[in-house]
């Protein structure tokens, strides 16, 4: 009985997001695409690549490219602090990539009625946002990872 009840509630799908900070803004990344979150390692610069690529890092013996979400979304250069993290994203059909963020805040559950999809008139940094989540009175811009990866390929 209890099970049936919960499946009924679940028509309103729950998804987990990692909330990250870039500047003052909060962004959400679907947790199912996140392989790992690491502290800022040494980044090796690679010459002659687009500006949003910061270089490559050694993640347990794997060479993983790292990009800057800030630069990709025209939010200025990164200034590494002790809170800076690299989020390792693994999506089917794409190679693993690290994304640098200012800090990682928390994990939240958002049901689909807490998410408002963004309209078609997208401003620059909003171009990569596929929806706005409401949580604890704050707003979380949910990133469209697929679009970002498609563009940088």
């Amino acid at each position: 009985m209890a099970n049936e009840l919960s499946t009924n509630v679940n028509t309103n799908e729950l998804a987990q997001y990692i909330v990250i900070n870039i500047g003052e803004e909060q962004y959400g990344i679907d947790i199912k695409y996140i392989d790992n979150i690491v502290r800022l390692p040494q980044i090796t610069r690679v010459p002659k690549v687009p500006v949003h690529f910061l270089g490559v890092i050694n993640l347990r013996g794997e060479v993983i490219p790292v990009m800057s979400l800030r630069k990709k979304m025209d939010l200025g250069a990164d200034t590494p602090t002790k809170d800076t993290r690299i989020i390792i994203i693994k999506m089917a059909q794409y190679e693993a990539i690290g994304m640098m963020v200012d800090s990682v805040k928390e994990v939240v559950n958002l049901s689909s009625d807490q998410i408002e999809s963004t309209g078609s008139d997208k401003r620059d940094e909003a171009a990569y946002v596929r929806g706005i989540g409401k949580h604890d009175g704050g707003l979380i811009s949910l990133l469209d990872l697929e679009l970002i990866l498609q563009e940088i390929q």
């Binding site: 690679v46 002659k48 690529f53 050694n58 794997e62 060479v63 993983i64 190679e95 693993a96």
Partner: protein, 706 residues
């Protein structure tokens, strides 16, 4: 019976046999009378037929059977080889290849009966006039041999070991009956070991195997002739067990009786040795013609039990069957994972080396051990690499046939000369190199070589020559495709480049010949006047280039109008681990493959000259262009501009370039890692490597800078 587990082996071996057949038939075309070649073809066809039959591929079996019949007649001197026959045989081989590739894709042979070919084969057979009965198999005769053994005990007579005796006693105590069984395998059975295994399984359902002669290990390794003996213990009667054994396909017969211990072994000696010569004789008359003195053979086993094994070995040799090589077939994926593990080990070793260096001087023993570890890992790496190496023969052996076909198709006499087929390359490279080589050979055959009348007018031999030479050169393998044809008309390429808008007329006229020739490697750039079936569609050389570059190799052309063209492919021996020179540029570490470096020089800034606004240095009479790596890598050099410069002299073919670096660190074994799809846009960075301290260094591809 489920034979799917043998499918891989079947496919591998079929391909091998087909390749052998192709080569042999080609030889036959040159030397129609050679009895060795004919014998070889017959054997390969026979084996192929048997294998196809075992695997249940009836259509393939029928076709090979008919082909074998033709060869049987040729071998017996009833038929003479002629040109028409060779063509039919090639069609037949093509059809068989088709079967094999269909089987590979679908695990089924498809439904093409290839009737026209079978008809042609039969026509050949019919043409020999008084058509004798095609050679039939004589497999059932083996059971005659079986009958011989009936009278006596069924154990070979080998003395039982202590363990076996004990197992037998235990079984007797447990009130089990002890039987001796001799199993006869059909004479044309191919997967003998597999059959024996099935026999064991059948027996073990109701009984236990106590002893075997030859040993179970030898049986599994297929080290037995057409029979083997077993001592088994069972609670049940013998009959059902024998029936179960006979139920295994390709088992001719199984005989057995109660085993009566020590006495039995002595008593059995006589009858079984009688059986043995029977089997041998049978083989002799059935298989390859072997000059054997039968009486000697009969005597041999009679002498004593101990002599039996050597006699068998001798028989093996006389039958002309190739000795079983001491080799193992291994899935390439397993080797890949082994190679990855070795890579990881080398990275771990490097990091140990760097921590030990930081630990300081007072740890002599540690350094000794680390040096030892280094030599072990280096040897390990070399061994794994060697395991992965295969001769390029497997890809190039199909080319003579291809050139023959092209020659016929174009009506242009030509010949292919190959050397260095035994040159070895990493398996993955060998798998990929076939297509590019084929493109180049076709290119030579089609565009390179002139028609015979032109050749004669130019004073060349009527028949064109194409050479395929492979050899190892340091850490590289070089494959050259050379022809004595027309060569590339550089001016035509120039015109074409202007026509296509790739260059302006001024650019084209100013460009060097070698740069113009390199245009041929651009996508859809073909100068062939006619588009033919073979080449000239503009696909080809660009595909060749991209394929070879994907293998970290390079390709180069040299040509002389009227004299011929040489394509040179240079491939690295290994793809994963290389020796590299570590350098520092602008505070960043970079690796340069040692194989691309000739020397390292100290150059004073005043010795740098400028030619056509490019920096050059004069090194022992050679004028070498200078590449400032700091500029190429978009970084600021940390070196004092007035002090002397460290210049790494890199080589590509016969071209040299001097790479200016800030500092040298030293030589190191590095594991190449890909940078991934996102950031591989930088063409002079060929990858990355993880250093001992966990830091990443990029690998500079000197070829892209020269």
């Amino acid at each position: 019976m489920d034979v799917s587990q043998y499918l891989d082996i079947f496919l591998d071996e079929s391909k091998e046999h087909l390749q052998n057949l192709n080569t042999s038939v080609l030889n036959l075309e040159q030397d129609a009378e050679n009895p060795e070649t004919i014998g070889e073809i017959f054997r390969a066809a026979h084996t192929l037929k048997g294998m196809a039959g075992t695997m249940g591929f009836k259509r393939m079996q029928t076709l090979t059977h008919d082909m074998e019949n033709v060869f049987s007649e040729v071998r017996d001197g009833n038929l003479k080889i002629n040109a028409g026959m060779i063509d039919v045989l090639f069609h037949c081989l093509d059809a068989l290849e088709e079967y094999v590739s269909v089987i590979q894709e679908t695990s089924d042979e498809g439904d093409n009966d290839n009737e026209p070919i079978i008809k042609e084969l039969n026509d050949i057979l019919a043409s020999k006039g008084s058509a004798e009965e095609a050679k039939e198999e004589v497999a059932p005769e083996v059971s005659d041999a079986g009958k011989q053994a009936e009278s006596g005990s069924y154990w070979s007579g080998r003395e039982l070991t202590e363990e076996e005796t004990k197992a037998m006693e235990d079984a007797m105590l447990a009130n089990k009956k002890i039987y001796a069984v001799t199993v006869f395998v059909e004479e044309n059975c191919l997967l003998k070991a597999a059959r024996a295994f099935l026999v064991f399984k059948a027996i073990e359902e109701t009984a236990e195997i106590i002893a075997a002669d030859p040993s179970t290990q030898d049986i599994e390794d297929e080290k037995f002739e057409l029979q083997f003996s077993l001592i088994i213990s069972a609670e049940s009667e013998l009959e059902p067990i024998l029936d179960a054994i006979k139920g295994v396909s390709e088992i001719a017969d199984a005989k057995g009786g109660v085993f009566d211990g020590e006495a039995g072994s002595a008593a059995s000696a006589e009858p079984v040795t009688e059986a043995a010569p029977e089997v041998q004789k049978e083989e002799v008359k059935n298989d390859v013609p072997v000059p054997v003195t039968a009486p000697a053979k009969v005597e041999a086993p009679k002498k004593a039990e101990e002599k039996k094994a050597p006699a068998k070995a001798a028989q093996d040799k006389k039958n002309g069957k190739p000795a079983v090589g001491r080799s193992v077939r291994v899935d390439i994926e397993k080797l890949d994972s082994l190679m990855n593990l070795v890579s990881e080990l080398i990275i771990a070793k490097n990091s140990l080396v760097s921590s030990a260096t930081n630990a300081g001087e007072n740890s002599g023993a540690l350094h000794d051990q680390i040096e030892y570890l280094e030599s072990v890992t280096t040897n390990l790496h070399e061994s794994v690499m060697k395991v992965r190496m295969v001769p390029i023969e497997s890809v190039v052996s199909k080319f003579p046939r291809m050139i023959r076909d092209i020659s016929k198709q174009l009506n242009k006499p030509m010949e292919l000369f190959m050397s260095g087929e035994e040159t070895e390359l990493d398996r993955t490279v060998v798998d990929e190199i076939g297509d590019p080589l084929m493109h180049m050979l076709r290119n030579s055959a089609d565009h390179g070589l002139e028609m015979p009348d032109v050749r004669i007018a130019r004073g060349k031999p009527e028949s064109g020559s194409i050479f395929l030479d492979a050899y190892q050169d340091g850490n590289n393998v070089v494959i050259e495709v050379r022809d004595d044809g027309n060569g590339i008309d550089v001016n035509r390429v120039r015109e074409k480049a202007v026509e296509r808008g790739i260059m302006t007329e001024e650019q084209a006229n100013a460009a060097e010949d070698s740069d113009i020739i390199n245009l041929l490697f651009l996508p859809s750039f073909s100068t062939a006047k006619q588009v033919s079936d073979l080449s000239g569609r503009g696909v080809g050389l660009d595909v060749v280039k991209s394929k070879i570059e994907a293998l970290s190799g390079e390709v180069d052309v040299k040509t002389r109008l009227g004299e011929g063209t040489t394509f040179t492919i240079r491939l690295p021996l290994t793809l994963a681990i290389i020796q590299a020179l570590m350098v520092v540029v602008g505070g960043e570490k970079y690796a340069i493959a040692l194989s691309g470096i000739t020397t390292i020089e100290n150059i004073e800034p005043k010795d740098v000259k400028t030619v056509q606004s490019k920096e050059v240095i004069n090194l022992r009479g050679n004028v070498i262009p200078l590449v400032r790596l700091d500029e190429v890598l978009d970084i600021q050099s940390t070196r004092d501009p007035d002090s002397s410069m460290v210049v790494v002299i890199a080589k590509k073919g016969d071209k040299l370039a001097g790479l200016v670096v800030d500092e040298l660190i030293g030589q190191q074994e590095i594991v190449i890692k890909s940078l991934g799809k996102y950031i591989n846009k930088c063409k002079f960075i060929s990858g990355a490597t993880i250093l001992g301290d966990g830091e990443i260094a990029l690998i500079i591809d000197t070829n892209a800078l020269i």
